[in-house]
């Protein structure tokens, strides 16, 4: 094994520095136009990656972002760590008690905004694989079909929360319903996705029964006994150890240990991180300030590395297939908006507000991109599908606020 050299370190530090500064600059520019920050990060990746600089000046691109060697391995390690921490902070905001508290409307909305996009995505991928560029006369790959169903059913809590905050709907009943349903969507989607990754693992699979058993056992343990232990320990951690260093080290340490454990038992590190996040985030003892610091730390350092890295790997120009993008967009809008609207309506919400809920939950944002990236790395999807998912994530995030406004805010006028 070759040693990590002085030169490797210079290249790695330069790459990280360039990524952080450029993504902040572009992200801040986008913020002026109310674009999500993740969009700026993806644009930076596209600019720095094979799509633009890699085409104009391949030598420079290969030098700063090499595909092989020590720098590439180190950067991959950082990107993997970023995914784990992004899932941890996503879990921090999932409060199962809020879903229960919102009652029938949240459960009905959460369920139908999950099941209808899943069914439409699964059916399209399984029965019409050629639409997605698969050369087959028969039925599609079952793993791909489950993945597409899952990808279409996920919602992006960070984007949704931001949209609701900007629209001053955060504390409204519709806001809480959308947030609670998005939490439900995310939890179920990541559980299904972990199952899928475990079944598709190159390290050998455990079999359907054991995989489900391990996922449920880990989830149940962490959300009951694990959560109680965390709940009991947090007051001590936050008062007896250095602040905020103590709670940061312990929470991230536990997140990484859980991620390592789930990776070890072949159900992927993301599940461990996500569930650890829920166990911490649901604790009444986690100080709001600690929560904010964890979000700031991950969102402003690790998230840019991850989202820029996407553009560094994939040529968005070569892999942009209009038909696939169109179909993915159509399925995404149809499944989510119809499913969530139907669920909210069944839950007792008036039809116009129910449609607003549907568009609110339609924002896919960062969660979709994380899901797509892991699926791409696991060989579940092609680069064309991945590009279509990224486009869908951005388009649904951008259209969410105007559509909520159209169906909800106008009503109050």
């Amino acid at each position: 094994m070759s040693k990590f050299t002085h030169n490797d370190l210079i290249i790695l530090l330069t790459a990280i520095g360039v990524i952080l500064i450029l993504s902040r600059v572009i992200g801040e520019l986008g913020r002026k136009f109310k674009f999500p920050i993740v969009m700026g990060e993806i644009v930076v990746g596209i600019l720095l990656g094979p799509t633009v600089i890699g085409t104009i000046n391949p030598e420079f691109f290969e030098k700063v972002f090499p595909k092989d060697g020590n720098v590439s391995i180190a950067f991959d390690g950082l990107v993997n760590l970023s995914v784990v921490l992004l899932l941890f902070v996503a879990g921090l905001e999932v409060q199962l008690s809020l879903v229960l508290k919102q009652g029938k409307a949240a459960i009905s909305t959460g369920f139908f905004s999950m099941i209808i996009p899943f069914a439409t995505g699964f059916a399209a991928a399984y029965y019409f694989p050629t639409l997605f560029g698969y050369d087959t006369d028969t039925r599609g790959d079952i793993f791909f079909a489950i993945f597409l169903g899952t990808a279409l059913s996920v919602s992006a809590l960070p984007v949704i929360a931001r949209i609701l905050m900007d629209m001053n709907l955060f504390k409204s009943s519709i806001g809480m319903l959308i947030i609670a349903s998005a939490m439900f969507n995310d939890l179920i989607a990541w559980l299904i996705f972990s199952f899928l990754l475990a079944m598709n693992s190159s390290e050998g699979t455990l079999g359907v029964g054991y995989t489900i058993l391990y996922i449920l056992a880990f989830g149940l343990f962490m959300l009951t006994i694990g959560k109680k232990i965390i709940d009991r320990s947090l007051p001590w951690i936050q008062t007896k150890l250095s602040w905020p260093g103590g709670v940061l080290s312990i929470s991230i340490g536990i997140c990484l240990l859980c991620a390592a454990f789930t990776e070890k038992i072949n159900i992927h590190a993301i599940l461990g991180a996500f569930i650890a996040g829920i166990a911490f985030g649901d604790s009444v003892h986690l100080h709001e300030k600690a929560r904010e610091i964890l979000h700031q730390f991950v969102t402003n350092f690790f998230a840019p590395l991850f989202f820029v890295s996407i553009g560094l790997r994939v040529n968005f120009f070569d892999n942009f297939d209009v038909m696939i993008v169109g179909i993915v967009l159509l399925l995404a809008y149809f499944g989510k908006v119809v499913g969530a609207t139907f669920g909210a309506y069944l839950g007792g919400i008036k039809i116009r507000t129910a449609i607003a809920v549907g568009f609110g939950l339609n924002a896919r944002g960062a969660m979709e991109i994380i899901l797509g990236t892991i699926a791409l790395n696991a060989g579940l999807i092609s680069q064309k599908i991945f590009v279509a998912l990224v486009v869908m994530a951005l388009v649904t995030s951008l259209t969410s606020a105007p559509m909520i406004r159209k169906f909800y805010v106008e009503k109050g006028k």
Binding site: L100, E292, H295
Partner: protein, 296 residues
């Protein structure tokens, strides 16, 4: 037929005045102090008193109850005593409906053992299901009524709250209290996440300030609709998870009574596992607890 008639009478019945107060008798060592407190409240509110025991009626129990009533100046002929057998929770709930009870008083431990809590103890199960207001008494305060600290959960986003506040004011005035503290819990899930990536420092400060001002205004607006009378009202806005935050506040302030809304839905085992709202309070009672069932 009788049941149907009584249920109709219960519908939309206001949460106060307390015309009928029932007391669940468990023949525990604390029964006498609970009865003494119930008598004080009934005298202050001009209420009829109904005493309910679900269990075998024995001579010892009859004598013990008679002695307690005598020692506390409760005339047996002026109270209705119901002896019955069956499932304790079901029978008490049924008898409360049949007797159009406005307030049910029960003794409760501050904290149940973990198995009993998750499976559901009698007092806590009744308080989750009752169709009337319930006063869970953890202790009989020896201090004067007028000196007792009462904290009311004034969650401004709930229709029931105004009824709970008015009931608390009614109760406070009748037992001679001078002041009541209204506490409003503020909890905005996913706020940290929403602000993390693209909010400047002044924006974060403004968002937090706006939220705080909005809640203060809502609380003022709600108080203006209540019948305060001569009571002194203290206001407090606290941050934290609903139920837990006010439980902690009541404990810290050494409150004598915490007043909250009745639950909005049928609470199950899962609500105790993924604890929220009233379940945080029932898990570890900080003081006596009045759950106001506003029947709206």
């Amino acid at each position: 037929m009788i049941m149907e008639f009584d249920l109709n009478k219960l519908k939309k019945r206001p949460s106060y005045p307390f015309e009928t107060i029932a007391v669940g008798l468990a023949f525990s060592p604390r029964m006498e102090s609970i009865l003494a407190e119930a008598k004080k409240i009934a005298d202050a509110c001009g209420s009829k008193l109904v005493l309910i025991h679900v269990g075998t009626k024995t001579k010892e129990k009859e004598k013990s109850l008679g002695d307690i009533l005598f020692r506390n100046n409760i005339e047996e002929r002026k109270v209705k005593i119901i002896w019955t057998e069956g499932d304790v929770v079901d029978m008490i709930l049924k008898l409360c409906k049949l007797n159009i009870v406005d307030l049910l008083i029960l003794g409760a431990l501050e904290k149940e053992n973990i198995i009993k809590f998750y499976l559901g103890s009698v007092a806590r199960t009744i308080s989750r299901k009752a169709k009337c207001s319930v006063l869970l008494m953890t202790e009989s305060s020896t201090s004067e009524h007028s000196k007792r600290k009462v904290i009311v959960n004034a969650g401004t986003d709930h229709l029931k709250t105004i009824h709970s506040i008015n009931t608390a004011f009614y109760f406070a005035k009748h037992i001679g209290l001078k002041e009541v503290t209204l506490v409003h819990e503020v909890h905005v899930p996913a706020l940290a996440m929403a602000m993390a990536e693209s909010s400047s420092a002044p924006e974060v400060t403004k968002i937090k300030k706006d939220f705080s001002e909005e809640e203060t205004n809502k609380l003022h607006s709600m108080i203006s609709k209540c019948d305060i009378g001569s009571l002194k009202i203290n206001e407090k806005i606290i941050k934290g998870k609903p139920g837990y935050a006010i439980r902690q506040y009541a404990e810290t302030k050494k409150a004598d009574l915490l007043v909250i809304n009745s639950p909005d839905m049928h609470l199950t085992f899962f609500d105790r596992i993924f604890t929220h709202d009233i379940e945080y309070i029932l898990a570890d009672l900080p003081c006596n607890l009045l759950i106001v069932h506003s029947r709206v």
